[in-house]
């Protein structure tokens, strides 16, 4: 019984530690790379990069949405039920 208890405890500590480490790595990655990623993405515009876009949109002042048929941003927002799609630059 004692063996079972300590195994379960070790497993739980290991899981929590792994989740915390994974989360800190995500934060570090996004903090460190954010500025460079934007520059990199612009540099890859001509290589056929795909962008998230929406096919079903509606007007909404102050908002912007990438419209799939043109793959450009226009004034408005996606429909609340509209799934994401992709479009090439």
């Amino acid at each position: 019984m004692k063996k079972f208890f300590f195994c379960a405890l070790a497993g739980a500590i290991g899981f929590a530690g792994a989740k915390t480490y994974e989360h800190s790595q995500k934060n570090i990655s996004s903090d460190l790379l954010l500025q460079n990623v934007e520059a990199l993405s612009q540099a890859t515009d001509e290589t056929g990069e795909k962008f998230t876009c929406y096919n079903s949109i509606t007007s909404k002042d102050g908002c912007q949405v990438r419209y799939c048929p043109t793959c450009t941003y226009i004034d408005g927002t996606d429909r609340w039920y509209s799934p994401k799609d992709e479009c090439p630059k």
Binding site: A12, F15, A16, E38, T58, K60, D61, Q64, W80
Partner: protein, 365 residues
């Protein structure tokens, strides 16, 4: 044995909770707001608009939006040719029509949204309409006074800011020399306010409190969207958050700033992100500015109700430039645009049928 199992379960639950907590607080900043905040005030109702009791000024005109000046109604027609119509407030006659969509030197590829890309400005005894064109990044000035006098469109380019990396949400001038353009940046996670002074990029420390806020990648970046207006002849500015329940007011000439929230508690970004898209609130739909203050078009509906064109009512809440609430104009019907004539004490509204109406109000300012 029982005690061992119980201890084991308690420890497991605690550790899972710790792991869950690290996932929950992923945002560095929970509020797109300043530290100086005022929350929980109830606007006093100063007027109530009842449908049918106003004067219908136009019922068959193409009107997307409009602006009032002392003697004119500027109408955004939505037409490709003749995007702007200048109408006499006294006679309601069209005095001049100008501006066109297109890719020519003085044309506007995505229209001239009066709320987002234009600012009225007086200079040298003339009335100007500054127009920001967000595709190429140009600021133009339409001399309304000369255009009306000469019946010829008098428009010139003030300066070029460059095309935005992704897209711009609005471009508005403050005073004679400042242009603020709000752009999508950082892989669609941030909305940055870029300030240009006489065409050159300029810093304003105050805006860092708003520019620093980001969302996790892949989230709806329009959660950070806002509408902007500046004080005519002054340096105060207001941003109303479209999907958040507070308003930011700040100065472009000093470090004064304030966030005001009618409700008892300001909504955090995490709270909104955990709400489904359909049920997220759409709070503020327009803002207009005056020398004494500003007014916001408010409706408390969900995104789904808005997109389904449900029946809802709206109100106009009026503030001074210190963020003090001066009162609320309630209505029993829906309108999508408004402007106030503070001298004559009228509110003009564009109703859901596209009719421009005028109602008297009791404006205690």
């Amino acid at each position: 044995m029982k005690n061992h199992i119980t201890s084991c379960v308690c420890i497991l639950i605690s550790l899972f909770s710790v792991a869950a907590c690290t996932e929950k607080h992923m945002l560095e900043y929970e509020y797109l707001a300043f530290d100086n905040r005022e929350v929980g005030f109830a606007p006093q109702v100063i007027s109530t608009l009842k449908e049918g009791e106003g004067d219908i000024l136009f019922s068959n005109k193409s009107i997307q939006d409009f602006l009032l000046t002392d003697s004119l109604i500027l109408i955004e027609t939505g037409n490709g040719d003749g995007m702007l119509e200048l109408v006499s407030r006294k006679s309601l006659e069209t005095l001049y029509t100008c501006l066109a969509s297109g890719n020519g030197e003085f044309e506007f590829p995505r229209g001239i949204n009066l709320d987002l890309y234009t600012t009225l400005r007086s200079s040298d005894d003339s009335l100007f309409l500054d127009i920001y064109e967000g595709i190429k990044g140009n600021l133009f000035a339409l001399n309304i006074t000369e255009s009306l006098q000469n019946k010829h469109t008098c428009i010139s380019k003030r300066f070029h800011t460059g095309a935005p990396a992704y897209t711009s949400f609005w471009g508005k001038t403050v005073g004679d020399s400042l242009l603020i353009v709000k752009e999508l940046t950082d892989m669609e996670t941030r909305q940055t306010r870029n300030v240009y002074k006489n065409g050159e990029m300029s810093d304003h420390n105050l805006l860092e409190a708003l520019n620093r806020v980001t969302l996790p990648a892949g989230e709806d970046f329009n959660l950070l969207s806002s509408l902007f207006a500046s004080q005519p002849g002054g340096s105060r500015c207001v941003e109303v958050l479209i999907g958040l329940n507070y308003i930011n007011i700040y100065s472009m000439s000093d470090e004064w700033c304030k966030t005001v929230c009618e409700e008892e508690e300001m909504a955090s970004l995490s709270e909104v992100l955990s709400t489904s898209r359909a049920n997220r609130r759409y709070l503020y739909a327009a803002v207009k500015s005056y020398p004494f203050g500003f007014a916001v078009l408010k409706h408390d509906i969900t995104e789904k109700e808005y997109q389904q064109n449900s029946d809802y009512t709206v109100s106009v809440v009026i503030y001074n430039w210190n963020g003090d609430c001066l009162g609320e104009i309630q209505s029993d019907f829906k309108f999508t645009a408004f402007d106030i004539d503070p001298q004559q004490e009228y509110v003009y509204v564009l109703d859901a049928e596209g009719r421009l109406q005028r109602y008297p109000i009791d404006l205690k300012i």
